[in-house]
Symmetry: C2
Subunit: 304 residues, 2 copies
């Protein structure tokens, strides 16, 4: 199971009725947040999310609308009693950016474990899932993030019986690679599990031009959350110039990546009603929705 | 005339229903803002205030709740087309703090004119008024700010006639120190004006212990806006430890300074309803009000 909440959906600047874009994900007991612009700590409260639980904070890049709320969030975590370390992942420049911003928060009651990406794809454990950071193309180093939750194959009772595996070990073998019986025999998952079943995947991507790598990393995602800075086709020139996307370009990526569902986010302040231009995406990728502040979903395994 | 708007009234962290404290003032065509924590740019929009008009930004001190919204505000000013310089005034450390915070906003389409206070009282022109910055006592260098609008004496027609001042020069002498007539005679205001009349004064003060200097600088203010971090008398120890004030301490300062009206602000997040403790202030200084986000007033000369 993967829970996903869009804390905000705005780009450039926070508005009276639209928080800056950020995304909160939970996989069982593990929680992560992508981006924290000005006001994200309030956006999380509005969405009923405790930021105390956050294990990993991922930053896409160091434009202010994606990180200007960092210090406020860290201080509020501290004020509410956090002492356990927080992992912060971001592209090149993380150390320098965080150090500079902390001029107004030099002391925190918990440690920051900074993990600066070097421009290549990297993976990290996130609960039972895998968090993948991959480079995209913006006006400065920028990353997209995917969370992939694998699922092992179905337990085959007949094979387990045939292999003579004691029934009390079956439950253990569903969860771990191997187990040693009392008599010293080692049994393996491969003896009892079928082929891996379809897992779950969420891919989040902003701010970037629609480069093919995105479709590769979003391949077959259950949910693809992608920037749609502009809805209007005539803003293509502006999108190219500022290294952003049109709704239609996000939809083309969704189609190419063969995802199940696309949510648009990171709207320009010049776009008060994204819904007005949704058709520009749905005519290319029908299962597109305009992301809204507080929008949420729970993804569950589809196979029995 | 002096317009005053409380953009927010919170301390420590922004809440769902309370912006971080800031204060906007206008004197004729000149506008200033005191403090800009996380979300202040949204708070201003909520209060119907254009931040484009701001001429002077005063920072009380460099705790995050008073300056974490600086970069967002500057970028939004830039996005909305500002090219004229912005004066920024703050205590020691201004240059270093602003430079560090601008790691995520290295380029702006307008200049910042930083004026770092050296710990003494300093004055600046603000429209027809005078802006005074004065040191207070917090856990790091911190300033209070007063805006004083003087008012010249009443024009004395009989004295003007007796002095033989041509009537067409009367209007000029009401506004400027002296005027030269066509025949070369120089006339002075002192020949036609009575004693200066009562002007207007607003004093703003947070975060600080209630040191006597505050009463001195707030002397006879029409409006004294002062921090009231805690309403409960039993939080005195905490107020002393964190260098803040109780409601009652702010009221004592108001009483001592002989101000007309006191507004409390900068409430602790632990204080959801400041009104509950208002009596702790009004029993000392009756004309106390609990500041609220968006609260505003227009101060006008009282004498004819």
């Amino acid at each position: 199971m993967l829970e996903v909440v869009l804390g905000g959906t705005g780009g450039t600047m926070p508005l009276k009725n639209r928080w800056l874009c950020c995304c909160w994900l939970r996989q069982e007991g593990s929680t992560m947040l992508i981006d924290c612009g000005e006001g994200t700590q309030i956006a999380l409260k509005c969405a009923g999310i405790s930021f105390q639980g956050i294990d990993i904070l991922c930053i896409t890049h160091y434009h202010a609308d994606h990180i200007s709320g960092l210090v406020g969030l860290l201080l509020s975590m501290g004020n509410e009693g956090r002492t356990r370390p927080l992992t912060v992942i971001g592209p090149r420049g993380l150390e320098r950016t965080v150090t500079n911003l902390r001029v107004i928060a030099p002391e925190l009651p918990f440690a920051l474990e900074l993990h600066e990406l070097d421009g290549d794809t990297e993976t990290f454990p996130f609960g039972d899932a895998v968090l993948t950071a991959f480079p995209v193309r913006h006006t400065l180093p920028c990353c997209g993030y995917s969370v992939t939750l694998p699922r092992v194959g179905k337990f085959d009772v007949e094979r387990a019986k045939a292999a003579g595996i004691p029934q009390k070990l079956w439950g253990i073998l569903q969860k771990q690679e191997s187990v040693t019986a009392e008599d010293g025999t080692v049994y393996h998952q491969s003896q009892v599990l079928g082929a891996p079943r379809k897992g779950l995947k969420v891919t989040y991507c902003t701010d970037t031009r629609p480069v093919p790598a995105i479709a590769k990393y979003a391949d077959s995602a259950d949910l693809f959350i992608c920037e749609g800075m502009y809805g209007e086709p005539e803003k293509l020139g502006k999108a190219v110039e500022t290294a952003h996307m049109l709704f239609s370009e996000a939809a083309e990526l969704a189609e190419l990546a063969n995802v199940k569902e696309l949510w648009l986010t990171h709207y320009s302040p010049s776009l008060p009603d994204p819904q007005e231009f949704l058709a520009n995406a749905t005519e290319i990728f029908p299962n597109t929705k305009c992301g809204k502040d507080g929008m949420r979903t729970v993804l569950r395994f589809s196979e029995p």
